[in-house]
């Protein structure tokens, strides 16, 4: 657990990992998207608009997956006071929020041709919107706390938010959903392999990019942290 506790070691590892993730991520998503957008068959009922899926679905998964990561990092920060965990959480949040937003935008763009409207109050759409709000709440609180000089609030919020996620999922029972249910399962996916393959490839690519961006942000955060600390010492030296 504490193997990475010391920022120096983390930085050493991250310095190597970042470019690798970035490169492979770019390649995978490029390939996946290229196949998806040009080299895969149009959907027999949705036509070309189905191609949005290759962005939409990975974004959706990373959006929700990112929040899980955020909550876990926050828990580690709270329980073990792990120095890097908080930085990790603050690095993950905006990226996850971004993917969530992408999912929402692509989704509603997809909605216009398929459902005839940009937005419907459908269980899944709504739950995704709420997820975005949770992200934004975390971001606002954590920055405000950083301004004051730290605090546990944002971490607590992130964890409490996770308690809320399943509840949001169950809201399906209050609305009949327009959105399609899970068609991709580990066994026997209800989706044509010609579509599944590029989807999974771009998913892998996006995931790698997600990791790369988080690492970059963590490194940046650590750097600024050291700089400001030094500046503070200098200033106060002759106070």
């Amino acid at each position: 657990m504490h193997r990475f506790a010391n920022p120096a070691r983390f930085l050493r590892i991250a310095r190597v990992a970042t470019p690798i993730l970035t490169l492979t991520g770019l390649i995978c998503s490029a390939v996946g998207l290229w196949i998806g957008l040009f080299a895969s068959p149009p959907d027999y009922q949705q036509g070309e608009s189905v191609r949005i899926m290759y962005v939409h679905v990975p974004a959706a998964w990373l959006g929700s997956g990112g929040y899980l990561g955020l909550a876990i990092a926050s828990a580690v920060a709270l329980v073990w006071r792990h120095p890097l965990a908080e930085i990790a959480a603050r690095a993950i949040a905006p990226v996850g929020a971004l993917f969530t937003a992408i999912c929402l935008v692509t989704g509603s763009l997809w909605g216009k041709p398929t459902w005839g409207t940009y937005w419907v109050w459908d269980a899944r759409l709504t739950s995704m919107l709420v997820l975005l709000f949770l992200y934004l709440g975390y971001l606002a609180l954590s920055t405000a706390e950083a301004e004051r000089g730290g605090g546990k609030g944002a971490a607590i919020l992130a964890i409490v938010g996770v308690v809320n996620l399943p509840i949001i999922k169950y809201s399906v029972e209050w609305w009949n959903t327009l959105h399609q249910g899970p068609s991709i399962k580990l066994t026997g996916s209800a989706i044509a392999p010609a579509m599944l393959m590029p989807l999974l490839v771009s998913l892998a690519g996006f995931t790698l990019l997600f990791g790369a961006i988080v690492l970059m942000r963590m490194r940046a955060a650590l750097a600024t942290q050291q700089v400001t600390a030094r500046a503070r010492r200098l200033a106060e030296a002759h106070a």
């Binding site: 709270l78 709420v130 709000f133 949770l134 934004l136 709440g137 606002a140 609180l141 405000a144 706390e145 301004e147 004051r148 730290g150 605090g151 546990k152 609030g153 944002a154 607590i156 919020l157 409490v160 938010g161 308690v163 809320n164 509840i167 949001i168 809201s171 209050w174």
Partner: protein, 213 residues
């Protein structure tokens, strides 16, 4: 225990010193109720249909109004320090504050409910159910408001920030509350209040500990 009761009594006494704080949510609640008939027009059926939702949203937002003065003053004037030094668990303090806040915010709201209901032309038959729903649901709202207030104590942009934190978490309560017609909704409402009230003191306590540092 006597200490706990003492804390609740004290919080209530302080709240009574500032009845403006107590009245503000009620004023807001009634204003919102008075507003919607004009928004949707005279159609009574339509009005009756949205009435529970409107009342619940109004209640939810009303719970947010005192958020900036719920704990911040105690942090700023050193009250929290005095309590911590005496070895009182901030969770206990938060629990006392939660009870006081609920009494100070939910009771006036329930008293104002009939007025609001009349304004929204809610059939009197529905009123008891609505009241029961609010009675069961408002503890959750109070709990969320307390947590938000503790989280944002001493931070800029208190109100909007607190709202951003509370509202997503309050959605389940809102959904259960509006759906009280549905079977078992009341039970779900009570359940979510129980959960919220059970967790809130610990979340708030931890947040306050951070704020005194």
């Amino acid at each position: 225990m006597s200490v706990f009761i003492g804390l609740v009594r004290r919080d209530l006494a302080l709240a009574l010193l500032r009845p403006g704080t107590l009245a503000l949510p009620v004023v807001f609640f009634v204003l919102v109720a008075a507003l919607f008939p004009f928004a949707v027009g005279p159609d009574a059926r339509l009005l009756a249909r949205i009435a529970p939702g409107v009342l619940w949203v109004a209640a939810l937002l009303a719970a947010l109004l005192p958020v900036e003065t719920l704990v911040e003053p105690d942090r700023a004037d050193g009250t929290l320090d005095q309590l911590v030094v005496r070895g009182l668990a901030l969770e206990l303090v938060a629990a006392a504050r939660l009870i006081a806040h609920w009494l100070g915010f939910a009771l006036p709201l329930l008293i104002a409910l009939p007025v609001a209901a009349i304004l929204l032309q809610v059939p009197m038959a529905v009123l008891p159910r609505l009241a029961l729903g609010l009675l069961l649901g408002t503890p959750a709202l109070a709990a969320l408001a307390l947590v938000a207030a503790s989280l944002t104590a001493g931070l800029r942009g208190g109100g909007a920030l607190a709202g951003l934190i509370v509202l997503p978490l309050a959605l389940p309560v809102l959904i259960f509350g509006v759906g009280i017609a549905a079977p078992g909704a009341l039970r779900l409402l009570a359940a979510s209040s129980l959960v919220a009230v059970a967790i809130a003191p610990f979340a708030a306590g931890a947040a306050l500990r951070g704020a005194t540092r």
